[in-house]
Symmetry: C2
């Protein structure tokens, strides 16, 4: 790895950063080599997840958050996961263009990534992108996703604070999503709160929180949660978040900047709780473990796949299955033993 | 492995079978050893997937299918994946009890398995259970699941023929599910067809098929589909099914056995197409590859997990992450090299 390149990155050079993110997105091995070098510099950024349905006004809110963090003198990087699915599309292009109001500000960096499939858009590279931006020295990293399924679960694992953005009159939707999205919210943002039904939406959220639907598992529950699900069933992973935090509900009209001070206050309060939680070694270890498991899982699957594809190993395996001279269980084990010996 | 146990299994001994399925469900290593021994005997069963929303009447239909296959002199094993999620619950217990009408028939074997989580209920063990029952010599294996997400994608990969069960008046739901479930259906069963709206549901399905929403990718597309998604993004895997088959739509009233002859005819016709497709070596290889990749993926993740948990390797890793003396990328690679050397 080129030392000058690493130095450029750590000096927040935009072109070097753009190149690294392209490498990560393309999945080439230079990305991984660079990430290894950068890792020691991670752990300083404040990572904030922003999720919610299309049309909830996430991009406008992100825009406001950028402005407010900039006023505090913080540099802000935005990682926007653009849905490629026809189901969750929206005014993506328009939003991105609007955000380019910040494009002359060197303290703002915005990158959109396409999701890889119609599920689990964050699986592959978002963790790496966030680690990279963290190491490079961006103070705040906003990770914006559309709220459809697995995405949120991935976001919340990265983020210190997660905002779930809703709009008035989403009562039915709240019912539908409560199992997933409510569990990950540190702050509910009822955006477009000048519309009819804002108070009703707030009340419904309050009721749900009272009923414990938004209750996070305790750290004890998480630590005992282990088992194979940690690698197998990614969606099963519990969130590692401060135990004592009760999710806040904030009304905003992001387009006019209304409610932003209240939102910021809630976010600050949450970070205080988060930092308190970090005084507990078990909490920090659980976060590191979760982070490691995700990278480990991806590395296992990538190396496993690369092995099969190299020297046409897969063809030999299928031939042996075809004449039933071996079985898939033994062949899988043999492949794993062999790939352990292979250099990536 | 005890030879007598294998012999008992191959003689379709019920107690030996029950024991093996328990081993598989518990994930103990004897299960895997037995599956290795049994694999050479697989490939004879006719595997039929039955999926659809709760309340669609899948269990009643399954009941009828059992009766009809029995009349043909076929032995029938039923693998029912019981949803543990509160969202997809139903009259499970009642259904199962009713099915016990067949409990005195030695040619029928019924087992329910709980899903592991609210997504991907089939991921862990259903493939193994079906392989086992196939090897043991059950002629027909009916795999019944509730149609919510990932489950269907798993079922359809195992099944030769997949039935998607609907009820009249599910128009809106059809819209919602078309992306996933329609792609996997070989036969649509509009059950409870004595209710209002049956013909409309049939028409809507027909329109959708005309519009190509139910179109399956061609084999060429599948073979070129490769890439990392095969291990990473399970939901991306295309279905490997006969190209020329146009999904049929059959109206039934399963409770009274109406429409069952027509359904059977459609299923028979589909199997003829399936067998024709098997004359193409690429088709057979693609099926074997998909089957292998699923087992390989699970083996990778299981061994990967077992390694981390053995001798407290995970603790050492977290310690090194905590003091940032290494990085998760390097530690993941080192773990993979080490696990390759370890015996399972």
């Amino acid at each position: 790895m080129d030392e000058a390149f690493i130095e450029n990155l750590l000096a927040r050079d935009i072109r070097a950063t753009a190149r690294l993110l392209r490498w990560i997105d393309d999945g080439i091995k230079e990305a991984r080599q660079t990430l290894k070098r950068l890792y020691a510099h991670t752990g300083k950024a404040n990572i904030i997840g922003i999720t919610g349905n299309p049309g909830a006004g996430k991009s406008t809110l992100t825009d406001q958050l950028i402005t407010m963090f900039r006023k505090r003198g913080k540099t802000v990087a935005v990682v926007a996961i653009d849905p490629s699915s026809p189901f969750s599309g929206g005014a993506i292009l328009g939003d991105r263009i609007r955000m380019q109001d910040h494009s002359l500000d060197e303290g703002v960096f915005i990158r959109s990534f396409a999701t890889r499939g119609h599920l689990g858009g964050l699986t592959n590279t978002t963790t790496d992108v966030v680690h990279a931006l963290d190491a490079i020295g961006w103070d705040v990293i906003l990770v914006e996703t559309v709220g459809v399924g697995q995405d949120e679960v991935e976001v919340q694992r990265l983020a210190h604070t997660t905002l779930v953005v809703m709009t008035p009159g989403m009562g039915d939707e709240i019912q539908a999503i409560k199992a997933g999205i409510l569990e990950i919210a540190d702050v509910f943002v009822v955006n477009k709160a000048d519309r009819d039904g804002a108070d009703r939406t707030v009340r419904e959220l309050e009721q749900m929180l009272d009923l414990g639907h938004g209750a996070k598992p305790t750290l004890g529950e998480i630590l005992h949660h282990g088992g194979k699900v940690d690698l197998e069933g990614k969606t099963e992973q519990s969130r590692i978040a401060p135990e004592k935090w009760v999710p806040r509900i904030i009304k905003t009209v992001a387009l006019r900047g209304e409610g932003m001070d209240e939102l910021f206050e809630a976010m600050d309060d949450h970070m205080v709780e988060y930092q308190k939680a970090c005084e507990n070694a078990s909490f920090v270890e659980a976060r590191l473990k979760q982070e490691f498991l995700e990278i480990y899982r991806r590395t296992l699957l990538n190396r496993g796949w690369n092995y099969l594809m190299s020297e046409d190993h897969i063809k030999g395996i299928i031939d042996r299955l075809k004449d039933r001279s071996s079985d898939p269980y033994s062949l899988a084990e043999q492949a794993i033993e062999a790939l352990g010996k292979q250099q990536d």
